[in-house]
């Protein structure tokens, strides 16, 4: 049977058998942790399976796996960094302002989703947007903080809204 005629599951099976150990090793060296590396390597193969890329057509399967794996690794770091910032902020809140244990976890998930939504925006645009949404600052106040014109802030805000709304389309 030629490769071209093989079903996607079969070729995925071969891909998994031939390269999983290698990919996991690569991830482990980056992460310094076997459990997370195993998780991420599984996720990578799941991504490959659910993508439209035909596995049998891959010229350089390892290069492809690495591209997918790197993206997942970067998401992973991003979630971690958010979680750390969140925990630190939580710890510094006065007792009476702290949310209940259930709310803490729900809030973390919400924040992770929003963090992903904002991902890819330039830093200044992201900050302008967050200050407006969360602190209720007006454009003039944001412009002063960022030392740019109000016109620029208006452009930033439109850019941020557009970015977030396009993600869900």
């Amino acid at each position: 049977m030629s490769d071209a005629a093989m079903p996607q599951e079969q070729t995925l099976h071969d891909l998994y058998r031939d390269h999983r150990g290698w990919l996991e090793g690569w991830l482990r060296r980056r992460l310094g942790n076997g459990c997370d590396a195993a998780d991420l390597s599984q996720d990578t193969f799941l991504r490959v399976l659910s993508s439209s890329q035909r596995i049998a057509d891959l010229q350089e399967p390892r290069a492809y796996l690495l591209t997918v794996g790197k993206r997942l690794l970067s998401n992973f770091y991003q979630r971690r960094s958010l979680e750390q910032a969140y925990l630190a902020a939580l710890a510094s809140l006065p007792e009476e302002c702290a949310p209940s244990p259930e709310q803490r976890w729900l809030l973390l998930e919400t924040l992770q989703a929003l963090d992903e939504l904002l991902d890819g925006l330039p830093r200044a645009v992201r900050r302008a947007f967050l200050w407006s949404q969360l602190e209720g600052l007006n454009y003039q106040q944001i412009a002063e903080r960022l030392q740019v014109s109000e016109r620029t802030i208006k452009r930033y805000m439109a850019q941020a809204y557009e970015h977030c709304l396009l993600v869900d389309l």
């Binding site: 459990c35 958010l82 702290a98 976890w105 967050l130 407006s132 007006n138 389309l169």
Partner: protein, 314 residues
């Protein structure tokens, strides 16, 4: 309003421009009228406008201080580089979400694990140290001291040069032996796998503990020496073992390996569990319990799971 086909991307772009104009405070009556006309002109326009409002609402519902310090944190990219440069990934154990107070000691710890994580490190002279979930230790090789700040460790010292484990409830001198020490709020438990160790409780005389024995140390000194629970150290191989254990006890233990909230009906407490479960996938452990016991798993989110008695559910 008509349903003439409009590119939703164009509509979203326009909605973003309108919103930015309105919020700038520079919009006049004419602008508002134009916006209303634009919304009325096409269904796709109105949908884009509603989506934009929903987006604003998502942010409006957040506690602003917490959300701001999380989402407006220092550049994540730089943090990653920084972490790599330091060569250590210092993770905050997620268990703090529950305890809330930031134990400052943990920041100084040399090694820690997050909830659900386990870690093994080689020390000098063939000694090896293993950390269980949500644990922190401070290792001073020069002083030959391992301070257990929180959680559980296992230490193997094959040579005759001793290493001392310090806990809040006393110290354990380990040489040519292998022990497991678990520290909790009100005491710690020491179990010996191989060889024998010397213990110094906070009160009372020192004592020796041999292979197969365990003892609890508390504020008021050592408890009674007992045979150790052979199932307990399964975590070192990543396994949680139970032999006719009450489900409540099992779940309390399992919860230590899962970030988030795990709750269950009180009537499930007394059901019995037997088996070996892989700790790397606690979702699967819950699924296995649901397959063999009269209970159902309700996951509200990844971080909030409730087990309900099957006859209680509708």
């Amino acid at each position: 309003m008509n349903s003439q086909v409009v590119d939703p991307r164009q509509a979203v772009r326009a909605a973003a421009q309108w919103l930015a104009l309105l919020e700038s405070g520079a919009a006049d009556e004419q602008d508002r009228a134009n916006l209303q006309r634009w919304r009325d002109a096409n269904m796709t326009h109105e949908q884009a406008w509603q989506k934009a409002q929903a987006l604003r609402q998502r942010f409006a519902d957040l506690p602003s201080a917490l959300a701001l310090s999380s989402l407006d944190r220092p550049d994540p990219g730089r943090r990653v580089l920084l972490k790599r440069a330091l060569g250590a990934v210092a993770l905050v154990p997620a268990a703090w979400l529950i305890s809330r107070q930031l134990p400052l000691d943990v920041w100084r710890a040399d090694l820690h694990t997050a909830t659900g994580e386990r870690r093994k490190v080689q020390l000098a002279e063939g000694s090896s140290l293993q950390l269980n979930t949500a644990s922190a230790v401070d290792v001073d090789v020069q002083a030959r001291r391992v301070r257990l700040i929180e959680g559980e460790l296992s230490l193997k010292v094959p040579g005759s040069v001793a290493l001392t484990i310090q806990t809040r409830f006393g110290s354990v001198v380990v040489s040519q032996s292998e022990v497991c020490v678990r520290q909790e709020a009100r005491g710690c438990r020491v179990s010996v796998f191989n060889g024998s160790v010397q213990l110094q409780p906070l009160q009372g005389p020192p004592l020796a503990l041999r292979a197969g024995q365990q003892v609890s140390l508390g504020e008021s000194g050592a408890g009674v020496i007992a045979p150790f629970d052979t199932l307990a150290p399964g975590w070192r191989e990543g396994v949680l073992m139970a032999n006719n254990q009450p489900l409540g006890d099992f779940l309390r233990e399992l919860g230590l390996y899962r970030p988030g909230i795990l709750r269950w009906d009180p009537e499930l407490e007394a059901l019995r569990v037997t088996g070996s479960f892989l700790l790397d996938d606690t979702d699967r452990v819950l699924a296995l319990l649901a397959a063999s016991l009269p209970l159902e798993v309700h996951a509200r989110t990844r971080y909030w799971v409730t087990l309900q008695s099957r006859k209680n559910s509708v």
